[in-house]
Symmetry: C2
Subunit: 180 residues, 2 copies
């Protein structure tokens, strides 16, 4: 149900259409919780049926903007405070790492180089974002502050992963490594 609450959380900032939500989800939450538009639209319809959100206005190009209801706001808040936190991680790159011994040393090195570059890239993206935010480019409402906290998490995570990949790349390759 995380997508549901993610949408409610975004709607708590103000009315938005499914299209808006899809874009904002992608932009600001895409790296911690991917969501495609079909799922978003169907979830919005479900939530409208349950009274958690309601159609605020219908605009041009069939645009429907939704507004969160009191019930919806209460639902997100309850989820945030009482809902059990799901600590499940699903990190394919780490799953792969358990099987590095099956790779050729050269391939592994190349792989870790690419991984490190990827994480460095993400890290820089979020660092730039954080700097813009700290300069006040996005105002300083409570939402902005929360977003800054989320960005800080991304910075620390990608930083940790980048350093890990570089560390692993520079580690001695396993002694028992053998060619196929």
């Amino acid at each position: 149900m995380s997508l549901r609450y993610g949408l409610l959380g975004l709607l708590a900032e103000g009315p938005a259409s499914g299209y808006d939500l899809a874009r904002r989800f992608q932009e600001m939450l895409g790296s911690v919780w991917p969501a495609q538009h079909p799922k978003i639209y169907s979830e919005l319809n479900r939530m409208a049926g349950e009274g958690l959100i309601e159609v605020e206005s219908e605009g041009p190009r069939r645009r429907k903007a939704y507004r969160i209801t009191d019930a919806g706001l209460a639902a997100v808040r309850q989820w945030l405070t009482d809902g059990e936190v799901d600590h499940t991680m699903r990190l394919q790159p780490l799953l792969r790492s358990a099987f590095f011994w099956l790779m050729e040393p050269a391939d592994l090195r190349a792989h870790l180089d690419r991984e490190a570059a990827y994480y460095r890239g993400e890290l820089e993206k979020y660092q730039a974002y954080a700097e813009a935010k700290d300069r006040g480019d996005f105002g300083d409402g409570p939402q902005t502050h929360s977003l800054r906290i989320a960005i800080e998490a991304a910075i620390r995570l990608y930083g940790a992963l980048a350093e890990w990949a570089e560390w692993a790349r520079d580690e001695d390759p396993p002694a028992g490594q053998r060619r196929r």
Copy 2:
């Protein structure tokens, strides 16, 4: 298809039954790639049908041990070197963090305390594991070396998350915070 390759990777170390694989997946990969036994058994059956693994022996209690075939070994190796890395993260705690502004400051503080404690706990678990490994408790084959790299990633990730949660907890709460 990550589960598939995870199973093949484990089977590359030696024959195992579905039950074994479920336990080992849970133990050593559970925190980066959860897998329940129904999925494992059905995936094993599918892979047996495709010739990636084969039944090595049938033991007591209906136990069926599988062995990886040459085709299976080639498949994991190809996945490891040529397969596109999926960098998707699905971290509910970070999704939540974008909506901290909706929480009461006291609830948020309690939440971040629990989160920090959780991450510290995981961190210690993996640190202990790493120390045992560095002492040589598990031998020092190439698999062990890979596992050590995976554990190092877990240590760095949980360390980063623990510090993030503590940092966020001790941050000034957003100025615009308002009561319900």
